[in-house]
Symmetry: D2
Subunit: 151 residues, 4 copies
């Protein structure tokens, strides 16, 4: 049940198509960097207009990319026709979000029939060095038969 075997062979195209429909990812400049069964990475170049009051990336934006990474990691293992929604998550901020680019990584820890538990992290990249700035633990849900909620 918690194996990382995709049940939909077209999982990568499906994740990419759904990501393309997340309007906010385009607005903030995030891109899908890697899709594997149970693992998704999203990249976001720093932009000042996404910052909080001290000039760091806003915690909500950091959270947005790692939430999407975890949600799509979960979706990559869901059967065709299912949609993914976030039930809840918890985030720790390990260091101020300063860097040229941010990489969010989501990973499935346990994929159940209904619920999937993921961990995620965000690394800040500065002059080629990565530093972990954010750690997430999240619960995603697989939704079927709900009009409009399909991925």
């Amino acid at each position: 049940m918690s194996s990382l075997q995709p049940r939909d062979p077209a999982y990568a195209e499906r994740v990419a198509a759904s990501f393309g429909r997340q309007a906010v990812m385009g607005v903030i400049g995030a891109s899908l960097r890697r899709v594997m069964p149970g693992v998704v990475e999203i990249a976001l170049p720093f932009r000042f207009d996404l910052s909080q009051q001290h000039g760091f990336l806003h915690a909500g934006i950091t959270t947005a990319i790692v939430d999407s990474a975890c949600g799509y990691a979960a979706l990559s293992l869901m059967p065709a026709g299912a949609g993914v929604l976030t039930v809840e998550f918890k985030v720790n901020f390990l260091a101020p979000a300063a860097g040229e680019q941010f990489i969010a990584r989501g990973r499935v820890v346990r994929a159940g029939r209904i619920m999937t538990v993921c961990t995620g992290e965000v690394a800040a990249v500065s002059e080629g060095d990565e530093k972990a700035i954010c750690l997430m633990q999240a619960t995603m849900i697989s939704v079927t038969g709900q009009p409009g909620v399909q991925d």
Copy 2:
């Protein structure tokens, strides 16, 4: 220690000034709606370009406004010269984020010398009715003497 007495009489102007420096709040169209000792509200009209793949407000944007509301609720009780940073938070999504407008409310539960614990919620407003869509429990930290981190 956990009373809601502001230690800085200029707390409201200070919160408003810091909110004005959160570039991302301007970009998404959020505004400060209410500032009281230990309580802050932020309003965000729905915009399609902030949505996730099913057309609901993205969980990261919902989180961004309630994180700012909690952070500023905490700041409203901090002494002059301190800056506020988010240590961690946990969010439950109670219903899909569908509505014309979203109101995030942050409230201090316990204000310590270093750490402040807050609860927050986001309500979706549709045709005048409010519906709770998101619940947050957060830890904020008061930072002093760190260059660049002042509010």
Copy 3:
């Protein structure tokens, strides 16, 4: 859907019977203090043998009583035949757990068909005064048709 109307008229007896089967509650000396639709309270007198290394009530024991309070608050609104399990929770400790007695209160925020979101708190009672020491945000699940998981 999120109203606090019990769907099982025998909700109070059912909560009490299930609580009686939680062997660990008897071992630590906890008792059910109050059961109302969507609200449950559990009381625990302090005992040194439940303490951590500084003589305060151990965080795990504090968590145990507020987890049970939240779980039973959720169960009080579930239909007959359903069982309740904890999906996840998050706890903040507001002050050291020092007192003669501890009162855990669980409350339903939103009762869905499958998942219920609760908030909980634990108060320490010393010489008649209550002080909040712990805050919980939790997700409970209603389980049906799973042998052995019925309440």
Copy 4:
């Protein structure tokens, strides 16, 4: 700052001595299994009197051992004279806590001067096989100069 170098060469004895003072660990039958810089393991044989209403280990007891494992993983990297307290944690339950024995593992992700972020997990052991049943993300604090809070 986040290296796993112990600042107190006697870290292992110190963790063991503090664990020995956690009265509740003795009552439930938990033992310290492994102490390394930034990593601590605690073992707990199943006992029916620690169970919840369906006969599984109670979520609060599962939480107690992984909270202690994370707290002592954090303490193993703290300077002599400091005490450790739990600020907050979040736990996901991945499967019912059924097994002959439970192993809680705590690990430091980032050790700051004041706060330490840890992840933890609990595995249930049945007939020699381990199965992850619980995942924790926690924040611990280093306390100095507070009478009675020293480890």
